[in-house]
Subunit: 350 residues, 3 copies
């Protein structure tokens, strides 16, 4: 690329070697400004991420960034090195939220290549990376695996030796960490009295409300995380793309759906782990996101705190009370946007 030696055109499939570590650019100090923007852009109402008083009452160190906010920041930093030439963001696994991110903390990110597999077409391959976010005290605040389909620079280049990582179906409850004791929990201010014991495995919850996303909203949100992937921003070049328009960053869907899930899951604000996630369908401006949840599993953490394993399903332009999901053959129903499997902390009955 002698014609343009200083600009970054991103890595191609051939550039990823298992074992390599990629140090991602642009560490970011997370401030109260970021937190206010996250709230205003997603509509989040979980009390421990809205009120410093509530957070402290619940046993957290103070007002911190929503774990999904921190996740998007760490993810965003990995984009220029991992997915600038990605065809698709295929999935997440083994995501662990390890430490709170407080205003003033600075996050940086790095990724290790843990798998590569060329596709049969010979034009693309799948790359697995484990990305971790680290704060200014060199403490790991989170870690997750994601895999993406990436273009080859040259279809004629030989296929690398196949390395496919073994990934857990879900984070084990014993590995959950970073939750407060939840000995005190101001239920009235949280918006619900429903505790761990009130939820049953298999239960489905219709979150009712919908939110229609505009171009300006998803662009501001995605830049908040310093994710500047061109599919989300450059309408001129996207006119020639498959969809003919800009694709909304999948992280926008995750956070809006989680904010909608407040209605019925008010006390589950703290995400502890991301077990799996698939961006099933594309979202565009003027689409309306709705969400429903299913309780997949439960785990007692302490005498006063439990965890729910939840499936969060986002759908577009349809009643979430229809609980659209998959058919018997495993094919997702029309309009499903997101299938997201996570653990969240919840107070127990007292």
């Amino acid at each position: 690329m002698t014609a343009n030696p200083k600009s970054n055109s991103g890595n191609f499939f051939e550039d990823f070697k298992p074992g390599d570590t990629l140090i991602h650019a642009t560490p970011q100090t997370v401030t109260e400004g970021d937190l206010a923007l996250y709230r205003a852009l997603t509509g989040s109402r979980y009390a421990q991420y809205s009120s410093a008083e509530f957070a402290k009452a619940a046993g957290l160190p103070g007002l911190c960034a929503d774990p999904l906010h921190a996740f998007h920041i760490v993810f965003g930093k990995s984009v220029p090195d991992v997915s600038l030439n990605a065809v698709a963001n295929l999935g997440y696994a083994d995501g662990r939220i390890l430490r709170p991110v407080l205003p003033g903390d600075t996050l940086r990110a790095e990724s290790q290549v843990i798998g590569v597999k060329e596709n049969s077409s010979g034009k693309t391959g799948v790359v697995w990376v484990r990305t971790k976010g680290v704060n200014q005290r060199r403490e790991e605040v989170m870690s997750f695996v994601r895999w993406v389909m990436v273009n080859k620079r040259d279809a004629a280049s030989p296929a690398p030796e196949e390395v496919v990582p073994q990934l857990p179906e879900a984070v084990s409850p014993q590995d959950l960490t970073g939750y407060p004791e939840m000995k005190s929990w101001p239920f009235a201010q949280a918006g619900s009295r429903h505790v761990y014991e009130d939820y049953t495995v298999g239960e489905r919850i219709n979150h009712i409300n919908g939110m229609t996303i505009q171009e300006a909203e998803h662009q501001i949100t995605t830049r908040l995380y310093q994710n500047t992937a061109k599919v989300h921003f450059d309408f001129h070049s996207q006119k020639e793309s498959r969809f003919g328009k800009r694709l909304i960053y999948g992280g926008v869907v995750i956070s809006i759906a989680r904010s909608l899930a407040f209605n019925g899951l008010e006390n589950t604000g703290q995400v502890l782990a991301i077990n799996a996630g698939t961006h099933v369908g594309p979202l565009f401006a003027w689409d309306t996101i709705y969400a429903w949840s299913e309780v997949l599993d439960k785990a007692e953490l302490t005498e006063t705190a439990g965890a729910l394993r939840l499936r969060l399903v986002a759908v577009k332009d349809q009643n979430p009370g229809a609980f659209a999901y998959k058919d018997a053959a495993g094919k997702y129903a029309e309009g499903v946007l997101l299938d997201f499997d996570y653990w969240a902390a919840i107070p127990r009955a007292r």
Copy 2:
């Protein structure tokens, strides 16, 4: 509602009992991030809410939230309990701004039901609530009455005993509080030399400028206050509504109109009381807001500070210099959006 026992579908007319207290969810810590967003979203230029140095020179404790910003936050918290099933937000009265809200303060809100009256249709009723905002020191920072028309859950349910509160036409000047001495006031930096004595009762001011609102702007603003009423967000369901589109939150109109009112009322930044307010007509994206004001009354507060009682009228897509308002029969002119009556502090001649 056994089909969906965990989600909140809001209260209906039958649920409101005079004397009941509703504790609203999601306390919110107001940060410098919120203040910056309020400024960027409304275009406010009142010096005491823009500059910490000016605020201190003027006798305030420092940079605080614009009182209307705090009002929208407290209002927003009441929405899920009071107006989720509202047909119309009918009015405000007796609004008292009691204490400044500084960055770091946490606001929570509660409402007392003070009146109910079923409408003759038998399908709806009017509910009056007094909502108050309280900070983390349990100090009341504001209090206001609003009344809304709410759907009945069941048209067949019997009408409640009618309770209609007596409300003052305006807050009495003796009850105004929380204004600084205004002994020093950096006039050049405030943008105007006009003081209390320069304004006369009956005087009307054309604020000239206009601002066109976009979908993304009103959504971000409304979420900043954690007001998530679906009429403002869910385009998919609003397509079937009376207007066929999303309605902009009335608080957006109030704050944009007040920001436009800077041009001619530069030294009146601090709202002390909300006497009355009516959302006369709906606002939609791409509409342009203009504003004019009328001086309704004046009151000397101290040797150096006075208060103006002002009517702020917002109109859409028309020259505010035409001063469109009401006809002799009391019917509002075409294009009037807002009729808002408030007291604001202003320095006196020195």
Copy 3:
């Protein structure tokens, strides 16, 4: 203007007298909220303006406002007095960035009229002002000259004596100030290893990426700087204007183009001086901004720090790799938006 004596209709050409000083309204305390918004609205990724840790490692006092952010704030304050009746913003010169702006600092602005020249039409004139930004310690943080074409109030009023200031073609490298030692510079986190010595005069860099701007984005950005010029906001009145729509504030183009320039100029985040700038063509919502740069000059500052004089060219809806600029006659190519000449600090080889 007795009909509307309290509102500001702005100054006309006749109102500007060389030697006069204009004190601009609304000092602004710059907070972490402003910095987060600037990042989310522009997509800036320069490490020293994103991470407090990086900033300190690089020798800066901490996380500060991007110098262009501070420039837009100071510029915005001058608009109501200087350019409310401007027909065109003609250029910038001799812009000096003197001191960092840290969160908590309050900026105010004043301008001195340094030149006036009536145009041959007799309907407009050119006004030159030197605007400076001052912090709460009365320290000058920046200073720049700009000139605008302003309408006359009355075409019949006599032409003033012509005063045309002498302006330098560029700020001299000896006058550059406010750069850190850059003894330590965490290159991996900055996103590039390219240093002063890697850039050659005449070299051109294609920044590749594009960003499409929406109405809501430019309005929020422009209000962040408290610039409320009606051409950017009032769609209703702009329907009757030359373009039939709202014009995007030129400062939006400058900052988006600089953010795009990160790709190839990662280590040049700190702007030290603005030598010249011309807004060549108008930008509207849905246009996509691309950018390319040319190295115009180089200067060694210390053993560890250098400066690059860069031309930043923003173009719309076209491949920036075509390096569209001017023809031999000096006429700008179709689609050029901005021609911006500045000095930026960069670490030297070590």
